[in-house]
C-alpha cells in the first residue's frame, strides 16, 4: 500500500473556506482584542464539608478514547517520586516506550465526603490491570484531632469490594493537602475486556506516616463505577515449567503473562523447603532493542495452590517487544 499517495489523495482538497485577505483582517482584529483581555487569576478550590454525606458532583463519563495524556501524568508522578513518594518502589525515571493515545479514558467523577473531596480523573487498562488515577483533596479542619502533619492520606477499599487479586499504588503530594494517585488493580491473566464493569467502594480514609497509620471509616462509601473501554488487549503468554526453590518452598514457575502494564507470573507451591531467599523480589526483562527494564513494583498474593505475582511497570510497554524475562533467576525466552 502506498501510504504517501493515499494521504495526499485524502487531504488534497482540504482547504480553509476563508480567503487569505480575510485571515489577515481577522488576525489584525483579534490581535487587538486579545491585547485588551485581562488575565484572570486561577480559581482556588475551597473544600466543602458535607457531614455524614457523600455527594456525587459530576458523573459524566466520556465514552471513547479522548487522549487523556497518561504519559504526562506518569512522568509527573515518577519525576516527583524521588522527592516525595508515598509508597516505596523501585521505580526510576524511564523514557516513554509506547504511545498511550488509545489507552487513556476520562472518568470525570467527583465526590465530596466528610473529609474532603476526590476527583477521579481517568484510567487506562489492559487485559490484566486497571490503573486508576485520582486526586484527593483533604480538608484538614474536618479531620479535627485526626489532623496530622506530614502524612499522606489516601482512600482505601478496605475489605476489597471488587474482584482484583492485588493492588498497588503510587502517589505524590500535589499541594499541602492534595494528593494525586495512580493505583493499579491487578486481575490476573487476561481477564478484562471492553464492556466489563469496574466497580469499587472506597470505605475509609487512611494515612501513612513514618511510624503511624490511621484509618477513618467513611460514613458512606464512595462508589465508583464505570464500563471499561479501550482495553489494550495486547499480551504475551508463556507456558513453562521451571523448578526452583524460593521463599520457603520448592516451586514451579508455570506461566508468565506480559501485558502493557505488568508482568505477571504463577508459581505453583510444592513442598516446604529450606530457603530463606526472596528471589521473587527481583525481575528484569529485555526488549528487542536491547533495553533492559528493571523498574517495577511487585505485589504477590495466594491464588489456590499458586502464588500469583504481579510486577507493575512504571511505564507501559509493548509486550511484543519483550524478548526475554528473568524471574527468580530464571531467564525465559519469550520469542
Amino acid at each position: 500500500m502506498n501510504y504517501r499517495k493515499l494521504i495526499q489523495e485524502a487531504f488534497f482538497e482540504v482547504s480553509p473556506s476563508i480567503s487569505d485577505e480575510n485571515i489577515m483582517k481577522n488576525v489584525i482584529e483579534r490581535s487587538k482584542n486579545t491585547a485588551k483581555q485581562v488575565k484572570h487569576s486561577n480559581r482556588r478550590y475551597i473544600p466543602m464539608i458535607a457531614a455524614a454525606a457523600v455527594v456525587s458532583i459530576t458523573t459524566v463519563g466520556v465514552g471513547a478514547a479522548c487522549n487523556w495524556d497518561i504519559s504526562q501524568l506518569f512522568n509527573t508522578h515518577f519525576q516527583n517520586k524521588a522527592d516525595d513518594y508515598i509508597l516505596p518502589t523501585n521505580i526510576e525515571s524511564q523514557a516513554d516506550i509506547v504511545d498511550l493515545t488509545d489507552m487513556g479514558n476520562d472518568i470525570l467523577q467527583s465526590f465530596e465526603f466528610e473529609y474532603g473531596r476526590v476527583d477521579f480523573t481517568g484510567y487506562i487498562s489492559d487485559s490484566s490491570n486497571i490503573m486508576l488515577m485520582y486526586t484527593l483533596s483533604i480538608d484538614e479542619a474536618a479531620l479535627g484531632e485526626n489532623s496530622q502533619a506530614d502524612v499522606y492520606w489516601q482512600l482505601s477499599d478496605g475489605s476489597k469490594t471488587h474482584a482484583e487479586k492485588s493492588s498497588s499504588g503510587h502517589g505524590c503530594r500535589s499541594t499541602d493537602n492534595s494528593f494525586t494517585y495512580c493505583t493499579t488493580y491487578s486481575y490476573g491473566a487476561n481477564t478484562l475486556t471492553n464492556g466489563d464493569i469496574f466497580r469499587i467502594e472506597f470505605t475509609e480514609l487512611c494515612s501513612f506516616g513514618k511510624d503511624t497509620y490511621t484509618s477513618l471509616p467513611l460514613s458512606e462509601p464512595i462508589v465508583l463505577q464505570f464500563t471499561l473501554e479501550n482495553v489494550n488487549n495486547a499480551y504475551k503468554e508463556i507456558n513453562c515449567s521451571h523448578q526452583y526453590t524460593d521463599d520457603g518452598y520448592s516451586r514451579s514457575l508455570d506461566k508468565v503473562i506480559i501485558t502493557p502494564l505488568s508482568v505477571d507470573w504463577y508459581s505453583l507451591r510444592g513442598k516446604a523447603a529450606q530457603s530463606d531467599t526472596q528471589l521473587w523480589e527481583s525481575i528484569e526483562f529485555t526488549l528487542s532493542d536491547g533495553t533492559v527494564i528493571k523498574n517495577y513494583d511487585i505485589t504477590g498474593t495466594n491464588s489456590g495452590e499458586y502464588d500469583f505475582f504481579s510486577a507493575k511497570l512504571d511505564k507501559p510497554i509493548d509486550p511484543y517487544e519483550v524478548i526475554s524475562v528473568t524471574i527468580c533467576g530464571i531467564e525465559i525466552s519469550t520469542k
Binding site: F11, P16, I23, I28, R30, G63, D99, L108
Partner: protein, 161 residues
C-alpha cells in the same frame, strides 16, 4: 512582525496550518479558528526566526499545541466524544473523497502524524522535535497509524488495497 511579512506568511502557510489543524481536530470551523489563532500568535511574536524552515517548524509546533488545548477545552465543555466523521466539511465532499472519512476515523494523534509525515514530508526526527515526543514514539505512532488505516481500508468494499 510587520503586516507585509505576515501577509506573505499567511499566503504561504495558511493551507498547511489549516490541514494540520483539520487532521488533528476533524472540524472545519475549529480548524479555521486554530489557524487564525496561530497567525495571531505569529503576528505578536517577537522571536527572531533563523530561516524559513525555522518559521515553518514553529508554526507547526504552535498549531499542534493549539489543537491539543482545543481538544482539552472541548472535553471540558461538551463531555462528549469527538466523532471525527461528523465534522467533515460537507456530504458532497465525502462522496467525492472517499479516503478522507476513513483517515479521519483514526485518533487525532495518529492521523496528524500520518499527515505530517506523508503530506508535509517531515522525517521521524523532525516530527520528534515538532511534536515534542521521542523518535521511537513517532515511529510507534506511524506504525500504529498505518496498521489501523490498513484495517479500516480493508473494511471499505470500494477501496482496492
Amino acid at each position: 512582525m510587520e503586516s507585509r511579512r505576515l501577509t506573505e506568511l499567511i499566503k504561504k502557510y495558511s493551507h498547511m496550518i489549516f490541514r494540520v489543524a483539520f487532521s488533528y481536530i476533524g472540524d472545519h470551523a475549529d480548524a479555521e479558528d486554530i489557524m487564525q489563532d496561530v497567525f495571531v500568535k505569529l503576528y505578536r511574536c517577537e522571536k527572531a526566526f533563523e530561516s524559513e524552515e525555522h518559521i515553518k517548524a514553529w508554526l507547526l509546533k504552535v498549531t499542534i499545541n493549539q489543537c491539543k488545548s482545543s481538544l482539552k477545552l472541548r472535553k471540558k465543555i461538551a463531555y462528549e466524544p469527538i466523532e471525527a466523521a461528523e465534522h467533515i466539511p460537507s456530504p458532497e465532499k465525502i462522496e467525492e473523497n472517499t479516503l478522507l472519512p476513513v483517515v479521519m476515523e483514526l485518533s487525532p494523534k495518529l492521523r496528524s502524524v500520518l499527515y505530517l509525515h506523508y503530506y508535509e514530508d517531515y522525517s521521524v526526527k523532525e516530527l520528534s522535535h515538532i511534536l515534542g515526543i521521542s523518535e521511537s514514539a513517532v515511529t510507534t505512532r506511524l506504525m500504529r497509524a498505518r496498521r489501523h488505516l490498513k484495517k479500516l481500508l480493508e473494511k471499505e468494499e470500494n477501496y482496492e488495497l
